[in-house]
Symmetry: C2
């Protein structure tokens, strides 16, 4: 990754958004707290606005009301003519685009940090558009250096030829923090605290950048999506199986460093028919299956992308 | 616990209910599977009916639509005159009471097994009414003997002078299986498999009982509720804090056996104000707090009872 050029225009207008999905509680509670008590967001060289992105979904403690807000920031949704029948989130996305954008314009916010939780055991995941986003890449590297014990993993979401559709793409620079595992609707003290600390460090980084700090070049490993595998389904579209138990500990545990997952079973999925238990009541599970019974630590993502562990040579 | 008397009337009519809470997925998917393919429920000496208890909540992937179904089986709800404005679950509870009860009558089912998941790290919890339920107590003991690696914990829910309100209380004998942690709306392969195995073993036990097997007396440890502690709240009723991170690993891990939780902090809760992070971005957390950051295993219950680890001398 190239050195972050200095001098470069300071970032002046920053926003932190929570409750983009109304049941991801770290961001919901942080946004609500900051809307009452914004002092901890203050820095000398720029202003930070807290935003509760999806108030209706938050009130209902749902991911969304009509349409996933974090899939709604495409030009098609943002620029089409409003109608009375528009889904709630389409209207809301246009409001947020007016507040934080307009997307791809000179008036857009300099930086938006979007806060998410996942039921998957993703630990601390930093989600940026691509390796070409130099500011975001340096910010991710800074977080990794500040918190080596968290093993922050970087995920680059942009696919070739695909338009961005997520909230933080309306700003000139953006990053999403994805912390898990946390059930929807549940607030975990440690994850809440970790999210709050990471936000503070992001703001500290922006302050350092604005003050003219030099950030040297570095190499970084990153993940990118290579495909999506749906669950096996019935004709009616219901689930006909689960992620295979051997694949359930999906990502590395922080204390063991970055590593590949467990050995790959022949199939990604275990259908309900495969799981027939014997009439004696004891399942015929392998050693690894039994460890799956004892290991209550990890959770399934509801939909999961296949991620490629990409050693991205980002040195200029 | 007294020996289970032999002979005693065999159990003939048994039901297994899933989806009492529509977003607790092990029971939802098991019930739906058995409604298509009931063969694995069959035993020689009795019939077992699978029931999807709350279809509307299941369809919406919500805990309930209007009112928690598992709080609706009191005589007040069941026996009052129906009106068009009745909450969905009140109507549904009356239907289930006709199907599986009537509660406290001679026509009620012999046994109902109700399947639940929790976001709390409860492992495998067996929930019965009281130590006076001899059949249920022997069933619990049998499950503990069959699966020592699961460290099945017994929870006795009945409080003095309080009427039962849960689904399995409509039958002559009842038990609930509560498996976690699992996020609502998420289906974990290992927990699904464990639930399925436990159901099979419950049915095997009933078969053994019906065949005249003798079950000797035993001693068992059990938990019972001693109180409820709400979260700190704002005037508007919103959360003003979380369960203290030191209390987050709420129950023992299966492999370490039954033990008390970690040392008790001065307060059960950590308010959002206590969690202010310093402007340097590093939180001033204790060693135990840092371990809370690294330990992503446990989850918070949304509301939690204070449980007393009760060494119940159940020997006659």
């Amino acid at each position: 990754m190239c050195s972050l050029p200095v001098p470069r225009e300071p970032l002046r207008r920053v926003a932190v958004t929570g409750g983009t999905h109304g049941n991801e509680m770290s961001g919901v509670y942080l946004a609500q707290h900051w809307l009452q008590s914004p002092a901890e967001l203050q820095r000398l060289s720029f202003s930070t606005v807290p935003v509760l992105a999806n108030p209706a979904a938050t009130a209902a403690c749902r991911r969304y009301v009509d349409h996933d807000l974090n899939r709604t920031f495409t030009s098609s949704f943002l620029n089409s003519r409003p109608t009375p029948d528009d889904p709630y989130e389409v209207t809301r996305a246009r409001e947020l685009n007016q507040l934080l954008g307009p997307k791809a314009s000179g008036r857009a916010f300099d930086f938006v940090l979007d806060l998410h939780n996942t039921t998957a055991n993703m630990g601390t995941c930093l989600i940026a558009k691509s390796s070409h986003e130099v500011f975001a890449m340096h910010l991710c590297h800074h977080l990794q250096l500040q918190y080596p014990e968290l093993s922050c993993q970087v995920f680059l979401y942009q696919r070739p030829g695909e338009e961005s559709y997520n909230l933080d793409s309306v700003a000139k620079n953006g990053l999403a923090l994805e912390l898990g595992p946390q059930p929807q609707g549940v607030l975990r003290a440690d994850i809440f605290s970790r999210m709050r600390t990471l936000v503070a460090t992001v703001l500290d980084f922006i302050e350092l950048f604005n003050q003219g700090t030099a950030f040297p070049a570095f190499e970084m490993e990153a993940y990118r999506p290579v495909g999506v595998v749906d669950f096996p389904r019935t004709d009616a579209g219901n689930l006909a199986g689960t992620v295979h138990p051997q694949l359930q500990p999906w990502t590395a545990q922080p204390e063991s460093g970055l590593e590949k997952g467990p050995c790959t079973p022949q199939s990604l999925h275990l259908t309900f028919g495969d799981q027939e238990s014997s009439s004696s009541g004891k399942t015929t599970t392998s050693g690894r299956g039994r460890r799956a019974i004892e290991d209550a630590r990890t959770v399934l993502p509801r939909d999961h992308s296949l991620c490629e562990h990409l050693r991205a040579e980002l040195r200029c």
